[in-house]
Amino acid sequence: MSALLRVRNLTKIYGEPGERTLEQTGPEWNSNICPETDSIVACAGVSFDLYPGEVLGIVGESGSGKSTVVKLLYFDMEKTAGSAWLRPYNDGRTNMLEASGQQKRYIRNHLMGTVYQNPRDGLNFSFSSGGNIAEKLIMAGSLHVGSIRERASFLLEKTEVPVRRMDDTPASFSGGMQQRVQIAKAIANNPPLLFLDEVTTGLDVSVQAKVLDLIRELQQELGIAMIVVSHDLSVIRMLTDRTLVMKHGRVVESGLTDQILQDPQHAYTQLLVSSLL
């Protein structure tokens, strides 16, 4: 089996880095701000392979760079350095981070989906919920109104959003429902890869549970590979096979999720696990 996504040396630096910026930042320095240039290393040297149908967790505190990794891969941000190859894109031969704008749009619309922490980032609140899903389908080339509506209602049903409310804007929905519309939109074109960035943060526990159950069911049924970003170890434990632990923009430890939780090696991971309620 070969990797669906290969990521090497993914790096994002804000400001003008100097020659020693990477040497002088990271967990050993307890900072991601370069003391010489004041540039900020959001993430650096991140490398991993994701296999088809695999769920990878990225855990770490606020500001550790975990969301940056996902945003770079979804082209929400421009990388400073690094490469990523996605197998369904040109047989994995082309670094997608160097692709043209047009190609990136194609990859985003056909091969990936993302669910943000804040539904406002993933949904257009002036469109209806059905319209939001239609947008994603149209971007991927669907033009037939009837089949778009049919697909949208199928997806809403799948994510347990009442289809009757298809023509209402997500602004009138509860937080959990908005999140489920976002998920419906993200999987609209059957992408092989889905990014989930703190998707349950800020929801009530019972709503959290429903969203997590939905993600797990979709994963089992559709076999989508996922990258799950969360500061919540119980989300990571429930959803993922493998986990990367990040601190100050670097991966400090990676391993099987049960190993990370039961036999953490790095001092930071040990602290994180012992902080679990």
């Binding site: 089996m1 392979d49 296999y51 695999e54 549970a209 159950d213 797990r216 429930m238 096979d241 493998r242 990676s254 391993g255 099987l256 049960d258 190993q259 039961q262 036999d263 090696q265 790095h266 001092a267 040990q270 602290l271 012992s274």
Partner: protein, 237 residues
């Protein structure tokens, strides 16, 4: 033919948050498991039984030594294998059954049991019907089949746990106290199910304190004391 060969295995926990305190758990462990062999692992609490089992499953990273596993695809050192290799083995060949049930919440008993088989067979209905057979054999009341195991009693959870561990017929079964909180009749059923697996060639490493279970199950015993194997007794079968 051996399925597992453990050489000079050691495990020490280094607790950075307690000023890099070192806690030795296992030292110089050497043993083999033959195909179709059931080994009883005994020893007092804290002697390292679970640590050894978790090193084999890679929930714990061994500090030194090697664990050679003869998979269908060739020999793999479980200490050094990549995470992806371990994930693949866990899906197809090696199963770990912990002492306490820790499953995904809000999944019905029947689906918890069926899940490992549904993954390998890609046939949910078949997996569910096999899960029903197992739960029936283990005497779990039918009223509980659709309920969530989190709320079950210790003995009921234990049965779910055992059923889940054996349903996909692993090549290597690591099982921790399979009969601890069961009544006599159910104990015999569990012992019978594990012996059936052995007949099909499954190798089993079984932690137990229960003499009744060990006598009926183990071909051989390993005794751990302070993280070391003290003596290995061969049982007459």
């Amino acid at each position: 033919m051996n399925i597992v060969e453990v050489n000079q295995l050691s495990k020490t926990f280094e607790l950075h948050i307690l000023h890099d305190k070192m806690i030795p758990a296992l030292h110089d462990i050497e043993f083999d498991i033959a195909e179709g062999e059931i080994i009883g692992l005994t020893g007092k609490s804290g002697s390292g039984k679970s640590s050894l089992m978790k090193c084999l499953y890679r929930t714990y990273l061994a500090t030194g030594g090697e664990i050679l596993y003869y998979s269908r695809g060739g020999v793999i050192n479980l200490v050094k294998a990549s995470d992806h290799e371990i994930i693949a083995l866990r899906r197809s060949e090696i199963r770990y059954c912990s002492q306490f049930l820790s499953v995904i919440p809000r999944v019905s008993a029947i689906d918890v049991v069926a899940e490992p088989l549904a993954r390998t067979e890609k046939n949910r209905d078949l997996a569910r019907s096999k899960a029903k057979d197992l739960l029936e054999a283990l005497g779990l009341p039918t009223a509980l089949w659709d309920a969530f195991p989190v709320t079950f009693s210790g003995g009921e959870q234990q049965r779910i746990n055992v059923a889940r561990a054996i349903i996909a017929r692993p090549r290597l079964l690591l099982i921790d106290e399979p009969t601890a909180s069961l009544d006599q009749r159910t104990k015999d059923v569990v012992i019978g199910l594990i012996r059936d697996l052995k007949q099909e060639g499954t190798s089993v490493l079984c932690i137990s304190h229960d003499e009744y279970t060990l006598e009926r199950l183990a071909d051989r015993r390993l005794h751990l004391q302070s993280g070391q194997i003290t003596h290995a007794i061969t049982e007459s079968i």
